[in-house]
Amino acid sequence: MTNSILSDKRLRLFYTAWWLIWMLLQYIILRQINIDVLHAITDSIISNALLALCCFFISNNMKYYRPRQEKYWYILVVSLTVSFLWILAQQGVMWMIFKEGDNYNEVIRASWGIRFGAGFLLISSMSMFSLLWYSQQEQKESDSRQTEVERLSKEAELFKLRQQLQPHFLFNSLNSISALTGSDPEKARHMIHQLSDFLRGTLKKDEQQWNTLEEELQYLQLYLEIEKVRFGHRLQTEIIYKDEILSLKLPALLLQPVVENAIKFGLYDTIGEVMIRLEAIADGNNLKIIIQNPFDPETSQPLKGTGFGLSSIQRRLFLLFARHDLLKTGKDNNQFITTIVIPQINESQLMKKDLTQTEIQDWLSKEINDRIIYKVNQSIDKSFNK
């Protein structure tokens, strides 16, 4: 929540001093027109205390509601109203204190015009000042939110880099190669090539690029071959698709981590042979990918949400499509099922103008940015409505 003006100690002191000065000034003026000490003191204290209250009220009001853009007349209306209320209250209180018959009440009544003027001046200044103050505070907050967003995206990038290197997979594969060099040098060489192709694919691909299902499956195949060498007969895979959907598109490097997760889950949660099944189907205007791996319902912790490992995939899908419902997980007997839906971006938007690869990327990253901005705006609006 925004800091209130008076939450700053120095400003609080300033505010108090300000009103003391006004009291003193009013006292001096009243003395100059020959009002006696008692009346002058009472009047300046009561009037200014009430005025200070009104200013406090209007400033607080600005904290919760600030007129947007053209609606500055709102300040005038509110200031006028509050000034009017103030003059009424001030006259009323003074009348109650001095009762009837005191000629000072005459003085008060006669001077309402100048009092109203002074009160209006102070109250409207206070509301303008508050407006500026709170707008500036808001600006500061949105700046720090911006910095936070930038920090998070940097962190995500670092994480991505680390993920790309996949140290565990890499070192285990190298260890397998090391073992093969002794027993089967031909196979070792073959595996080196596969690993190189796989790593090159990882490094070359831009996460914002879209590839055809065919390309992504080829890349996945490389990965699966390596894993099969590592785990031997324990790991079996089945990939099902119809040729006509091979041209459908999906974001680069999305599939492999999901399959990697399924393999890890399957291999480390069960004993014996593990079958990983991947099925790709066209579902309306979407590409739907279903991945199955076995798990042990007895020992696996009930998975909260989508489970570890998949959260980064969910995040990516959200960044791409601003939707949370594209990745789903479920259980069927001893099978853990991950379903990913990839909306096909409008081909005409991409292809009609015969765009170059970089243009497509620019368009996509702009699209992603717009969606992030839209989401951020939404959440800002939400926090405002609270």
Partner: protein, 242 residues
């Protein structure tokens, strides 16, 4: 000396086997695919030294060690895994980071021959039980079977001499650990030590009744009744916010 290799990747086992071939006084008595086979083989052959991978199906290398009465000396063979290394680097005989060279392997064997004290294995097990993977489940032996109990399935724990009784809906299991150990390691999962001899899963509490002069009695959804000490009651109040 008798040696066993335990690793779920066949090629990872074969390289250890290959490196061992040049050693004249070494007898490779078994090769195991996972921790379960490992336990059986260790009981059967009583090896002097085992080569143990950490990430394996079902139970990891540390959990396997926990289930063995007198664990042999261990050389860990593992790919990069920062949690694991932190846990055991000071205690294991040695650890080999995959892929490792013949020279590095020979050094590890040398190190074992120089001070083959297996008391350190016990320390490794203790240190490793603090790793994240092992904090949300408990592995116990039930006769000849091995049981993996997810922490959420534990109803309560009861002290029983040198052991701790782990009570679940499926039955009661014993584990050679102290109450203090469980009190600490389960505190992250909303378990509270309500009594010197009892640690309870607070998710299952249905009622707390006054009992005798200073004590209270807990009723769980499973029907079990547990005594609560004065200190235990204070902890409960704090956690449940009453």
């Amino acid at each position: 000396m008798k040696v066993i290799i335990i690793d779920d990747e066949p090629l990872a086992r074969s390289i250890v086997k290959e490196y061992l071939q040049s050693k004249s006084d070494v007898e490779l008595v078994a090769e195991c695919n996972d921790g379960f086979e490992g336990i059986k083989a260790i009981q059967q052959h009583q090896p002097d030294l085992i080569f143990l991978d950490i990430q394996m199906p079902k139970i990891n290398g540390f959990e396997m060690l926990e289930l063995i009465e007198e664990p042999p000396a261990v050389i860990f063979t593992t790919a990069f895994d920062e949690f694991a290394i932190k846990a055991f680097e000071s205690n294991a005989v040695d650890y080999l980071l995959k892929p490792f060279s013949k020279e590095r392997f020979d050094k590890a064997i040398q190190k074992y021959l120089q001070h083959s004290d297996i008391t350190s294995t016990q320390k490794v097990i203790e240190a490793a039980s603090q790793t994240p993977a092992q904090q949300n489940r408990v592995v116990v032996k039930d006769g000849n079977k091995i049981k993996i109990i997810p922490v959420a399935k534990i109803n309560y724990l009861e002290a029983a001499d040198d052991y701790v009784k782990i009570v679940t809906t499926e039955g009661t299991f014993l584990k050679k650990r102290t109450m203090n150990f469980f009190e600490e390691s389960l505190s992250a999962f909303q378990f509270i030590r309500v009594h010197r001899s009892y640690i309870v899963n607070t998710q299952l509490i249905t009622r707390i009744d006054p009992y005798e002069k200073d004590g209270h009695l807990l009723l769980l959804t499973t029907g079990a009744k547990l005594p609560v000490s004065k200190a235990g009651y204070a902890k409960l109040k704090e956690m449940l916010g009453i």
